[in-house]
Amino acid sequence: MKKHFLVFLIIVAVSACGENKKEASSASSGTEKLAQKFGLTVFEYENGIGPIKEKLELGQIDLIKAKSGEKIFTEKCTQCHKLDERYTGPALRDVTTRRTPEFILNQILNPEEMTKRHPEVKKLLATYPTQMTYQNVSLDDAKAILDYFRSVNK
């Protein structure tokens, strides 16, 4: 009985997924296939899941913003993250090399969903077993932190 119901659910689920499947079946590149495998769009796979849904125009590093980003980082993030040392979470000096700016913002603003759905962040939880939380920062705060990260990555 249970098994039958499961089959039924799968059928419903699969038919509901039909549209996505069509779109994805035309995919050819490796990234697209990977994204599809994890149920993500290519943008999400490369730039994370969250409020940032398109590529941003990043200008020069705004040093004033970077300074305020450092203050926010010190108050809200340093209990878990250092620049050069593995701590509760990974060291972050080179994070702008490893991740796209949009990925960083989404990770700051939407860490729980990122951990649940994004394969790269799932891997992080296996290495650093403490779930990153949203630290009650605004989008502007997160952008300032991003400028701080850009300014320290030399």
Binding site: H4, F8, E75, Q79, C80, T88, P129, T133, Q135
Partner: protein
Amino acid sequence: MKNRKVLISLFALIVFSVIIYNCSGSGSSGDFSDAASKVYVAPGSYDEFYAFLSGGFSGQVAVYGLPSGRMFKEIGVFSQDPETGYGYSEESKAMLMTSYGFIPWDDAHHPSLSMTSGEQDGRWLFINGNNTPRIARIDLRSFETVEIIETPNSGGNHASPFVTENTEYVVASTRFSLPIPNKDVSISSYKENFTGTVSFISVDKESGKLDLAFQILVPGFNYDIARPGKGHSHGWAFFTSYNSERANTMLEINASQNDKDFIAAVNWKKAEEYIKQGKAKTMEAEYYRNYYDAEKQTAYSEVNRKVLVLNPKDCPGMIYYLPTPKSPHGVDVDPTGEYIAAGGKLATVIPVHSFSKMIKAIEEKQFDGDVEGIPILKYDKVIAGEVEDPGLGPLHTEFDGDGYGYTSAFISSEIVKWKIGTWEVVDRIPTYYSIGHLMIPGGDTKKPWGKYVVALNKITKDRYLPTGPELTQSAQLIDITGDKMKLLLDFPTTGEPHYAQAIPAEILMKNSKRIYELEKNKNPNAVKSEKETRVVRNGNEIRVYMTASRSHFKPDNIEGIKVGDKVYFHVTNLEQDWDIPHGFAVKGLNNGELLIMPGQTKTILWEPKKVGIFPFYCTDFCSALHQEMSGYIRVSPAGSNVPVSYNK
């Protein structure tokens, strides 16, 4: 093939549902299959109502969901709560200060929700401390006690803290009359020296701040329970009294002599006028007001020394007595404000007074003498009707908003349902056992939500697994949507569920606080980042400014503490996400633990008495590496030279 299996499954499901459906509603006693579905709240789903049940002698309030009866939280109010550190932490100790010093306990009876226009507004919950007269205010955003005010010139603060229609006041009175001001006299001089008081505590519209606005001196009876009027009776408050005999010993016999005692009807708008006219006297009285400063996350005490007192002899028309049979206990005003039902606990009927008849009787001066200048109205000129055969020991009445009253009967352990206007009993249901108060969600307001009545029972002998000499008290959820009341659920409670209030979940849920924002944390001992953590010695006083985050404390190695030091741990939880508290305790701490909410700072005092190494750790399972969240403190002998040091 697959489709066929699915079809078979669906068919099986339908047959199953039909069987289940037919099982229900047979109506025989002991068949609860229908009841089960009515109280079943599926995993992950929310209850329809929040219910706040007082803990009685536990001094706390417990929060439950209805209809499931699941308990969510116990709120520290008048009793210290070692689980959260309430009453133990340096920030919260002031909350339990009184003019008698620090008191770690009280007897909490009547939760009362704030109202606007006679309807629940979901802002505050008030509750009385009976023993050392106090009233507390709980903020329904944080579900924490934020203010406690003492009521002076009072003994046994039972008739409290019932709320007027727009929360202008919470009312209180003396169950035990006293010499006022209190003095050293012979107890047998009761009749000449003992006086009662009725108190009106004002509530600030915006902040909720409590203030003892005025007190009224009343003859030395025992004032038991109160309800303010509503609608056209708004502006009045009604207090039952017993012991009009003014006995001072063996009250169970000596205070049960008179056929009728009184409900005191107090016109508080008139009292306000008399105060404006300067009729009130200022009296010396010491009483504390303790309040929680949300920004500083700290409770402070202020001591008040004066109270305005009105004497009915100087204030004609301010109070009248309504004769009411046999030591009345409850007094409840129906949603329209017209009917005032009394629970004459030794009476054979429920007398229901009419507010408009009372006003007419006052105009026509239909008096039957007076007590110390307070006119006694003629019973037959104020009574609207008597509910006959209401069970033995009728106590309290709540209303469903559909024209019915529901009265608890303590001695016969039942709820009787009666019709307003015809006064006939239309239904009754046993309760298990010895019901005191009962509660319909919103059943004391102008707009009852109806649906359920909750019986609050004192005795549960044979209802639950035995637990030694002390058995749990309980609540019972009863469906009142049909013509017949139907028992749905028994659930045990913590302490004595003396009285309760319930409010639709949606009114409170949306305002529920999730975190304390670090930016707004103005606790003078907060540290906002690990960089600021430090240990400071000043004489024999050590202050540890510590942070907690998953899964470490900073600092976690501290040396240079000596026997005889007073060590204050100021711990700030740096988390900024919902539901990530950290706990803090150190070996040998003669105190409660700290349970620190995200963004909050709390302080606990430790006075180490022995030399050695003392571990401390996080007590609230916070993360996968929670076990690693720990540290060590080195305690050296008094007079040793080990300097203060710590890691960062």
